[in-house]
Amino acid sequence: MSTVSPSFDPAMAVRQVLATARFEFLRLRRSRFSWTRGLLFSLPVFFTALVAVVITWETDFAFDDVLRLGHSTESTARRFHDFIQGASWGMWGVVLYLGCFALCGGSIRSEVEERTLHHLFLRPVRRELAAAGKFLAAAALLALQAVGCWWLSIVLFLAPHGPAAMASTLLSADGLKSMLGSAFVLVMAALSYGAFLFMAGIVTRWPAVVGVLFALFEIVLLWMGRFQWLTPAHHLRSLSPVRLDPDLPMAEMLPRTAAPVSVLALLVFTAACLAVAGWQVRNLQLDYGEAPGE
């Protein structure tokens, strides 16, 4: 007897992935962790707003150069530059990573614990596709939250100087490039870190340990020369519109990789993680620990 459907319809597969993602997106949006995630992502925004207010109060610096600070030599601009570097590292390296862990790492696991995963697995969809749909929903929600939060932070930087200054800065070529470039990096980070932690949440019993080890691995590889190329962090930095100063602890120690190569590397990494996760999901036994005698 065949173990897979004899014919594979790619259009139907795409529809099923999107339908699964749509359902999962709604579920995640309403989940009991919504408030926790909201709080996590609001922290950088709040912090940014606070710093913007303090700096505005301290100085009379013209904010219209905020998004082109990489080219500025002014001392106050330097402070903004440092802040943006720190904020981007904090946002991409910590907040988003934690978000990926909570949302993607727990995507399948939480449904097994809540005993609701069978609702999805009993539908006429290959389990790998169902898993892909769940991942896409989680990554999309994360990316939306991260991008929204980052853009709000930038707006808050500029807010004290009025709508005209804000508009001229944001609508300048550099401003647009920075906003869109950051959004792209956040989307790629949500995909790559999300896929890794999604896989860790399915394959291992201790996804938190794996998540911490992976973060340490990325940090350690910062000092391992060309081995940095193996980490998503390197490729995300290569795509980032913000350049870290060489004297900062998390500086780029390897020359940037060309953007198309970095995008490809991140997509391959994402696909590999999803393939492993899909294989595991296909073989997942769903008895919710209700075996006789348990």
């Binding site: 007897m1 065949s2 173990t3 897979v4 459907s5 139907m12 529809r15 099923q16 339908a19 699964t20 749509r22 359902f23 709604l26 579920r27 309403r30 989940s31 009991r32 809540e114 005993r115 609701t116 069978h118 609702h119 999805l120 697995f121 009993l122 539908r123 006429p124 969809v125 290959r126 389990r127 169902a130 073989n283 036994q285 769903l286 008895d287 919710y288 209700e290 075996a291 006789p292 005698g293 348990e294």
Partner: protein
């Protein structure tokens, strides 16, 4: 019901075993279940849910082969179209409404939106949950949760329906409505496998039975057939008549009963010769010695057969 090729037997388990480490789930189960309603009975922990989960493809057997309407449970895509499963777990997404559950999950089947909405409306109507379709499931009573689970399992009109303790939480009216729904489903050619540890419930709906005990099938077939296979076990028969003591006396004299108990106008006997006892009752009634109001085979029920087969630990 979905138009698919007709398979008979519909559900086939061939030498299926499931072990959880050293714990036995089910052992060497071979069954060929036809269309209609079959019940799987047995006390909690006897392997009912394990068997249903294997058929639904949620867990894999340690050995053996399973086929549902010609589909392997490993082919989740094909299986999801022919099978509906309502497991015993009550879990649903508490933050979503019935509408959102059904629309979201049925959208995966790939139907056009208008057909999708029609199917959702019909499913909610069938289980009587239309009034609460926009209410979040977290606020549902146990019965309403059960109705939603049933709606999820029948909304795509599967050929085969697996129901694990489906009547739990339903009020008497809900049970009656649901039993009638199952019967009409079966009449239309559907196949239903229903598990319960409450034996008299499945007795009302099923026309065949699979009895499990500690993971083994101890009996299977039509309820009367299973009962008939127990040759050395006396049948229990109750006769309601005008003079039960006289009937008992005559039956002992004819040697067609082993024991008798008189309760008011009722006589309950144990007999190995039910045909001889029936002839005697008919003769006495025809001669006017007795006026017989009714005669009933007491242990034609699932529960009685199960108790006989398994003993005192049968019922829970």
């Amino acid at each position: 019901m979905s138009k698919m090729p007709v398979f008979d037997p519909v559900i086939v388990l061939d030498d299926v075993s499931k072990w959880y480490g050293e714990v036995l789930g089910i052992n060497r189960v071979s069954l060929e279940l036809p269309r209609g309603i079959t019940s799987v009975v047995g006390p909690n922990g006897c392997g009912k849910s394990t068997m249903l989960n294997i058929i639904a493809g949620l867990i894999r057997p340690s050995r053996g082969r399973v086929s549902i309407a010609g589909v392997s449970p490993r082919d989740s895509e094909a299986l999801g179209r022919v099978l509906g499963y309502c497991p015993s777990t009550e879990a649903i997404h508490d933050t979503l409404t019935a509408d959102e559950h059904l629309l979201g999950l049925l959208r995966i089947h790939g139907w056009p939106e208008d057909e999708l909405h029609e199917r959702v409306n019909l499913a909610l109507q069938r289980v009587g949950l239309e009034h609460a379709r926009h209410k979040k499931a977290g606020a549902y009573s146990k019965g309403m949760r059960q109705r939603l689970k049933l709606a999820l399992s029948i909304a795509h009109e599967p050929q085969v329906l697996l129901l694990d303790e489906p009547l739990n939480g339903l009020d008497p009216l809900g049970r009656e409505e649901f039993i009638s729904l199952l019967q009409s489903w079966a009449d239309e050619g559907g196949t239903i496998l229903i598990s319960s540890h409450v034996l008299h419930e499945v007795d009302l709906v099923a026309n065949a039975v699979v009895m499990l005990h500690h993971g083994y099938v101890v009996a299977e077939g039509g309820i009367a057939t299973v009962r008939g296979e127990i040759e050395d076990h006396p049948l229990q028969v109750t006769v309601t008549c005008t003079d039960p003591a006289r009937l008992a006396e005559r039956a002992f004299a004819e040697g067609v009963i082993r024991s008798a108990k008189v309760e008011g106008s009722q006589l309950r006997v144990e007999t190995l010769d039910d045909a001889g006892f029936s002839r005697l009752v008919a003769t006495l009634a025809a001669s006017g010695e007795l006026h017989v109001e009714g005669m009933e085979l007491v242990d034609e029920s699932v529960e009685a057969v199960y108790q006989y087969l398994i003993g005192s630990e049968a019922t829970t």
